[in-house]
Amino acid sequence: MAVEIKRQSPISFPGNPLKTELRGHWTVMQEYEAKGDAPRVIDLSHRIRWDLQDSDIARHRPGGVSIPDTPGRCVFENGVLINRMNRTQASIWHLSGEDLSIPDDPAFTDVTDATVFLALLGKEIFSITEKLTTLDFFDPLKEAPFLLQGPFSHVPCQMVILGNTPEKSAILFTCSRGYAQDMIAAVLEAGAEFELHPAGENAFSDWVNK
């Protein structure tokens, strides 16, 4: 029996997707049953993530995008989200379009498999997050998109607030891949009262395009 080589996301949602796509050994869940306005959680673990560290970080322009100059700031251009983490470090998340190949520079490390990558969409997501973290997603001094590095459901996470207005509420976050199952269980449990449900990658692309 030949074993088919597949890449696996660390999480599987309850219920079956309506539409999937095979992409570079990943089976990408593209669509789940739509459930109105209720908040959604999306698995983006197949999306390429890089770590960039350099004492001269400003010299890099991954995907043609400049690194934000202040820790905590993010830029989203050409489908690439760059989050400045500290003086020497940034994370680079490929959110849409073709995946770029990693620059031939030791400053970059592919960390796609190091984390689970999730998106939360919908106007009630901040009612869910306040059950799981003390982090402040509405800090008046911060303008979306911005990065928060801190505990979410007790696990250190990188959280990017793409939008924190009622019309445009979205969070992306990563945590260590090993925590994926417990993290998704915690998020779904906290979101149950708001009817949080899984959605496919398309829902995220639609949000980005809007």
């Binding site: 820790p71 905590g72 983490m85 500290n86 003086r87 928060l148 590095q149 801190g150 505990p151 250190p156």
Partner: protein, 86 residues
């Protein structure tokens, strides 16, 4: 946790996010001629100030930076602005 600390990268955060790294004692002493006693003094002996002391903290659940800050040990409140390291 009631304690808050101000990470030079992430700002003021809950004390749970940090790991204590001891009092600020300066770099490791020169190893030449060091005696067990003087080494023990450096590694284990502390000032234990009842008042404001300079100390190391790591933002382990956040950006991971080690930094020094000043804390009043009598009321467990951070004082002044920390100095960014890393």
């Amino acid at each position: 946790m009631a304690l808050t600390l101000t990470c030079p990268v992430c700002g003021k955060r809950n004390g749970y996010e940090f790991r204590y790294g001891g009092e600020e004692k300066g770099p490791r002493p020169d190893e030449a001629g060091i005696t067990p006693r003087s080494w023990c003094e450096y590694v284990h002996m502390n000032q234990c100030v009842a008042g404001i002391q300079k100390e190391w903290w790591c933002h382990k659940d956040g950006c991971g930076v080690w930094f020094t800050t000043h804390r009043d040990t009598t009321c467990n409140l951070e004082v002044d602005k920390p100095e960014a390291q890393s």
